[in-house]
């Protein structure tokens, strides 16, 4: 076992997950490839969404991979940071909007 939970080298080994369950891995990677293909959203837009989500799930592998991918797709540093702010705003907003639940509860039980 590694001394740390995360090793950058492991990112390259992503496809090795097929070793323990080939069928499911094949289905996943085929789905994954199709998700990121040009569609009604461009591959570039999808990459920026992935970068934002990577920061929401705080996955170092995904952050590494989609920083490179967005750069390769011609995104600016500004666009990349704006995408992360979208993630941050939703994360912050999702906490704050639950404030309404708290307020509801307070109003229910406070005289």
């Amino acid at each position: 076992m590694e001394k740390t939970y995360y090793n950058p080298e492991d990112l390259k080994k992503f496809s090795n997950i097929s070793e323990f369950s080939p069928k499911l891995a094949e289905k996943f990677f085929s789905y994954y490839g199709e998700v990121f293909a040009e569609g009604e959203l461009t591959a570039r837009e999808k990459s920026l969404i992935a970068l934002a989500v990577a920061h929401t799930v705080q996955c170092p592998y995904c952050i590494d991979a989609y920083t490179v991918d967005t750069l390769e797709k011609g995104c600016t540093e500004g666009q990349m940071m704006e995408a992360i702010h979208v993630a941050a705003a939703i994360r912050g907003g999702s906490s704050l909007v639950h404030g309404v639940q708290m307020m509801n509860k307070v109003k229910d039980i406070v005289m």
């Binding site: 390259k12 461009t42 591959a43 490179v68 750069l71 390769e72 797709k73 011609g74």
Partner: protein, 349 residues
């Protein structure tokens, strides 16, 4: 900034570059030989095809010193082609039906015989491409009329613009390069270059400003068109996405920034037999400032001349022997076969 040659940097010796490219990395990672990859793809030996592009590097002198330059060009490089060697090129061209002459450098316009050479090539009825770095047009009063000269001779202009923002362009090509490039692009647009129905072609070359590969060429083109039009009212025809090859200054950057191993690994992993089939060296002959013959501009900068079965110098030009030659290959060739492929005309696969 000075050239590697001027700095007496160890990479000014091309044998040292080749040694680095061929040896195992510090973490003992030995990349597979490029020739072996081609063999597995049934492409070895890689043979030349019909010659279609006559690429002439008319000098290493340049007004810019770009951090990724594979030529190691700059103001301190004095190697430029003489009119005598240009005449050998014209004599060779006249024996062939090669349609396209691709003039590169350095800044080819800085060669005092540049305009004469262009005029003589056009007299032979060949299409001329000039690899213009843009800033040369605004570098000195004597170059201000280049757009008019290009137009007069119906030159196909291909220019590097690594990005549509000043920060990333200047980081690669030097301070103020983006602003000057935009000025020059506007001057080219003003005479009709890049405008619809003028027949004056202005293509741009994108290459990544760092240790990553270029994305989809068409998607990048759409983004460049949008940004340059809305931000600067600049128009162009096509965008060519080119991969940086791990040689010369870019190799130095990769080593210094500790990106060499990761970058090579990316190139090797992205090897694409379809891109390899269409590499530009198969239809190109590249001539150096001193008249020697190479398979491409990159081999030229690594001092890897064409196979000995073919003539070595433009004085001895022989199209049929050149057409039968095997291409000289080495580890840097992975740069042209990664992903969608890379050539002076962009993606190949």
């Amino acid at each position: 900034m000075q050239s590697l040659k001027k700095k007496k940097h160890f990479f000014a010796d091309t044998l040292i570059q080749l040694e680095v490219l061929n040896q195992a990395t510090q973490t003992d990672n030995q990349f597979p030989a490029f020739t072996q990859k081609l063999r597995e793809a049934h492409l070895f030996p890689l043979k030349s095809r019909q010659l279609e592009v006559f690429q002439v590097n008319i000098g290493k002198m340049c007004n810019q010193v770009c951090r990724h330059c594979h030529v190691d060009a700059g103001p301190d490089r004095k190697e430029i082609m003489t009119r005598e060697t240009m005449q050998y090129c014209l004599d060779a061209l006249a024996q062939t039906t090669i349609r396209t002459v691709d003039l590169t450098g350095g800044a080819p316009e800085m060669n005092p015989d540049f305009r004469w050479f262009v005029t003589e090539i056009r007299k032979l009825g060949r299409e001329v491409i000039v690899r213009c770095n843009l800033t040369i047009i605004v570098a000195n009063k004597k170059y201000y009329d280049l757009p008019e000269f290009f137009k007069e001779h119906q030159i196909h202009v291909i220019s590097s613009l690594p990005y549509f923002s000043a920060a990333r362009t200047d980081a690669q090509r030097g301070n103020g390069v983006f602003e000057d490039s935009i000025k020059a692009l506007k001057m080219l647009n003003a005479v009709g270059y890049g405008k619809p129905e003028t027949g004056l072609t202005l293509d741009l070359v994108y290459n990544p400003s760092g240790a990553f590969l270029p994305g989809n060429q068409l998607a990048l083109e759409a983004e460049f068109k949008k940004k340059l039009k809305t931000g600067f009212e600049v128009e162009f025809n096509q965008l060519f996405a080119i991969t940086n090859l791990p040689i010369s200054r870019f190799l130095d950057y990769l080593i210094e920034s500790k990106n060499y191993e990761g970058y090579m690994e990316k190139l090797v992993t992205a090897f694409n037999p379809a891109a390899a089939t269409n590499v530009m060296c198969r239809n190109t002959i590249s001539i150096s400032w001193d008249g020697y013959l190479y398979d491409c501009d990159f081999n030229q900068m690594l001092n890897l001349k064409v196979a000995k079965t073919a003539p070595q110098h433009i004085r001895e030009f022989n199209e049929s022997l050149l057409k039968e030659r095997s291409i000289i290959l080495n580890q840097h060739c992975y740069g042209c076969t990664a992903g969608a492929g890379s050539s002076c005309g962009g993606a190949t696969a």
